[in-house]
């Protein structure tokens, strides 16, 4: 039994944490949040790319550094802790995973080195507006190599170079790879709950597109990409949840009311103990998800869904109760509490809501049971 990260992985985590503490304190997400002309922190993204972080899990033959997913997981946790305002999740967890999973050899050769070095940002588009996207209600259509329809919200859709789009394709569903600077693509920013991570509405009007993966396999591929991404998103959520807990502990120790630190009141203690409990449950599930991702285990679907559900619950709870622990100051714009509160909801909905993941978890269990 060795259910722990290796010393080298822990060292990478500490190194990443140290780097982000210096390069991405909360003034950085706040800057992006407040400046409508800055969709992401370019300076930070450049440093992250200079560290070769986007290529951590990309094999060396495709220009990556060929570590594994456990290494990517520890970096994800730290990016989540720092609520880093960069397109890492879109480009690495989604676009890179989709290309690795479904791309032809040519597509891999062409795209992966650029993703690894950060020369290009990729993203992934499923949602077409409020309401759960299903295979039956997709409106975006791929026909004869042309894509038409509207996707919203597309994470980093305003700044990404290319997008992988889930589209109706004849009787089935396919993944379409589109150059976002090409003809027939119109994009505009949309306001979201968390402006520190930009999103776009993209309209495709007979835009040139090529298949990523087999025609008709799009929905299954989407599920598999999301399973893998779910573990990585969960690690970010875990980092964010831990940051909220630490912030709340710090405040509860220093803030005095009724002549004593508010952290000495059981109402606050129990709240923070509950945060800790949820975070530890999430951590254990996330580590298991990390193991399943890194070994491509048959348990991945269930493990990823469990990590996703636990981490979504933990970050949501920690971010809202962190505000509550702070009281009035926690509701102000100047306090950092809302940065985490916004991010927690953004991440909670990024690849499907908690409800969707719970259903995927039970479906996976049913399948295991039947096998």
């Amino acid at each position: 039994m060795n259910f722990d990260f290796s010393d080298a992985q822990k060292a990478l985590k500490q190194q990443t944490r140290g780097f982000l503490r210096a390069a991405c304190d909360t003034t950085v997400p706040r800057r992006v949040l407040e400046d409508p002309d800055e969709p992401f922190a370019r300076d930070l993204w450049q440093q992250i790319c200079a560290n070769e972080s986007p290529g951590i899990a990309i094999p060396e033959e495709y220009g990556g550094i060929g570590f594994g997913y456990l290494e990517l997981c520890v970096v994800a946790e730290e990016l989540g802790r720092a609520i880093a305002p960069v397109p890492f999740s879109s480009s690495v967890y989604l676009a890179t995973e989709a290309v690795l999973l479904a791309g032809s050899e040519n597509q891999k050769q062409e795209l992966l080195p650029r993703l690894a070095g950060g020369e290009q940002v990729g993203t992934f588009a499923l949602s077409e507006g409020p309401g759960q996207a299903t295979e039956a209600n997709l409106q975006t259509t791929l026909k004869d190599g042309r894509l038409s329809g509207t996707k919203v919200p597309v994470p980093d859709g305003d700044i990404a170079d290319f997008c992988i789009v889930v589209a109706r394709d004849g009787g089935g569903t396919s993944l379409a790879l589109v150059d976002l600077d090409g003809d027939g693509v119109a994009r505009e920013s949309v306001d979201t709950l968390d402006p520190s991570r930009s999103h776009a509405r993209i309209t495709f009007d007979s835009a040139e597109a090529e298949l990523l993966g087999e025609s008709g396999q799009g929905w299954t591929l989407k599920d598999r990409v999301f399973d893998r991404a779910a573990v990585l998103f969960s690690m970010e959520q875990l980092g964010g949840a831990d940051a909220c807990l630490q912030m709340a502990i710090g405040y509860a120790k220093g803030r005095y009311a009724f002549g004593r630190p508010i952290g000495s009141f059981q109402a606050i203690k129990h709240k923070l103990a509950d945060m800790y409990i949820k975070n530890e449950l999430a951590r254990a599930n996330c580590y298991y998800g990390a193991w399943a991702l890194s070994t491509d285990a048959p348990e991945l679907q269930v493990a990823a869904a469990a990590a996703r559900v636990a981490a979504t619950q933990a970050f949501h709870f920690a971010s809202k109760e962190n505000i509550q622990t702070h009281g009035g100051i926690g509701f102000t714009w100047e306090s950092d509490c809302h940065l985490y509160y916004r991010r927690s909801k953004l991440l909670a909905l990024s690849i499907g809501s908690e409800r969707v993941w719970k259903d995927r978890l039970i479906s996976g269990l049913e399948r295991q049971e039947a096998a």
Partner: protein
């Protein structure tokens, strides 16, 4: 990261499995052997099994050789327990003795006493109980009222203890009592081990809300205890008790079923709105919540086991176990009954899915949220010892015990 044993651990596991296979029956889908027997028969079987384990070197393997153990790493005890859980063997009578009384004797008793008491405790020949809680001292156990005073070479004990598991079949017990009410409450306590057959001890079973009687009230009327059976100095009883309670938290195990598996099976068999309840999204969401909690604890244990296996001290993450599992058991039980709709109130096992397991645990589970530290006390412990939040303001800490308001 992997879930494999080291070659050494795998070899040990194989050895344990082979021994268990030759000496016990695999666990089947029916009540375990000890549940089918009355307490006396069950105890006799359990004693025989514990002795057999001890003879084979599998009881308390991590204890020092001098105490009857094998001086082996903790991980071997854990591996043995994991494997034993797959077999239908009578256990449970010795958990207080092995988990709490043995360690406190090992720390505070004389060499002669250790040689006399620990081996029979370890072999299951003598059963031990713990006498801490009182009617007026539950979470606030340091507020206990049972008195003791010195009389020659003996102490004389008067008072009442409560929630004592197994008092009626125990041979020995560990006891904390107040020797001086003029001292602040934590300073006036002294710790003993006592012969449960001593004159003046009166044991009455408590009937619980589930109808069972797992615990007792124990009354002390002029019970004499030799001073040689004092553990720790006079007035050091609280420190000794705290050591014991720390061990208790390690000794309190998992909540029993039902868990998500049983609800899932039940939901698949129940009809809701004209289809399988397992197709209902509200049912699926709840099962997913419990799955996440169960797996969270399972993998947290794996983290603890990893630390032990590497010879490290486990982190504080294990402290969440009972808080999570006790509430989960209560919620799962209640929901299981709900799935049976109007019929969910029936407790006759012959009429009910899983022999009315959900109904039984509905009545049993409230106790688990209280025993071994209430949900509230455990949250205080997490907040203070793990998260480093300031302690409670204690209005009763520095005043004489006799001046503390009691409300009665």
């Amino acid at each position: 990261m992997d879930f494999n044993d080291t070659p050494e651990q795998a070899a040990y596991r194989a050895e344990v499995r082979a021994w268990l296979g030759a000496n016990a029956e695999p666990r089947k889908d029916r009540p375990s052997v000890s549940r089918r027997l009355d307490a006396e028969e069950g105890l006799a079987l359990a004693k025989a099994w514990q002795a057999r384990k001890a003879d084979a070197g599998y009881a308390c393997r991590h204890w020092p050789v001098a105490h009857g153990g094998q001086g082996r790493p903790m991980i071997e005890t854990i591996i043995y327990d994991q494997e034993e859980a797959n077999f239908d063997v009578p256990t449970g009578f010795f958990s207080i003795g092995l988990g709490m009384c043995g360690p406190v004797m090992a720390q505070y008793a004389t060499q002669e006493q250790q040689a006399r008491f620990i081996p029979p405790l370890m072999r299951g020949e003598e059963v031990w109980c713990q006498l801490f809680s009182e009617p007026a001292a539950g979470s606030d156990v340091a507020g206990l009222r049972t008195r003791c005073h010195r009389d020659g070479d003996d102490w004389v004990v008067n008072g009442q203890k409560v929630w004592t598991s197994g008092a009626h079949y125990s041979d020995w017990g560990i006891l904390v009592a107040r020797h001086d009410s003029s001292l602040p409450k934590h300073k006036g306590l002294t710790f003993f081990f006592i012969d449960m057959k001593s004159p003046g001890i009166d044991i009455k079973p408590i009937k619980q809300i589930n109808g069972g009687s797992n615990f007792n009230e124990v009354f002390f009327t002029n019970v004499r205890v030799p001073d040689s059976q004092r553990l720790g100095a006079i007035g050091e009883g609280w420190q000794v008790a705290i050591t014991t309670l720390m061990n208790e938290r390690l000794a309190v195990g998992d909540a029993p079923p039902p868990d998500f598996r049983e609800v899932m099976k039940l939901a698949a068999a129940c009809e809701l709105d004209g289809r399988s309840a397992l197709e209902d999204s509200s049912v699926r969401e709840k099962i997913a919540d419990w799955y996440v909690e169960s797996m969270g604890m399972k993998h947290t244990k794996a983290r603890t086991m990893t630390a032990l296996s590497q010879g490290k001290v486990p982190g504080p993450e294990n402290s969440i176990g009972k808080v999570v599992s006790a509430s989960k058991l209560q919620n799962v039980s209640s929901f299981g009954a709900d799935l049976m709709d109007m019929g969910g109130v029936i407790t006759d096992p012959s009429l009910m899915p899983s022999d009315a397991l959900f109904q039984q645990s509905f009545l049993y589970s409230p106790g688990l949220r209280i025993a071994g530290g209430t949900d509230e006390i455990l949250r205080n412990i997490i907040a203070e010892r793990v998260l480093g939040l300031p302690g409670e303001i204690r209005v009763d800490r520095d005043v004489p015990y006799s001046d503390i308001p009691t409300g009665s």
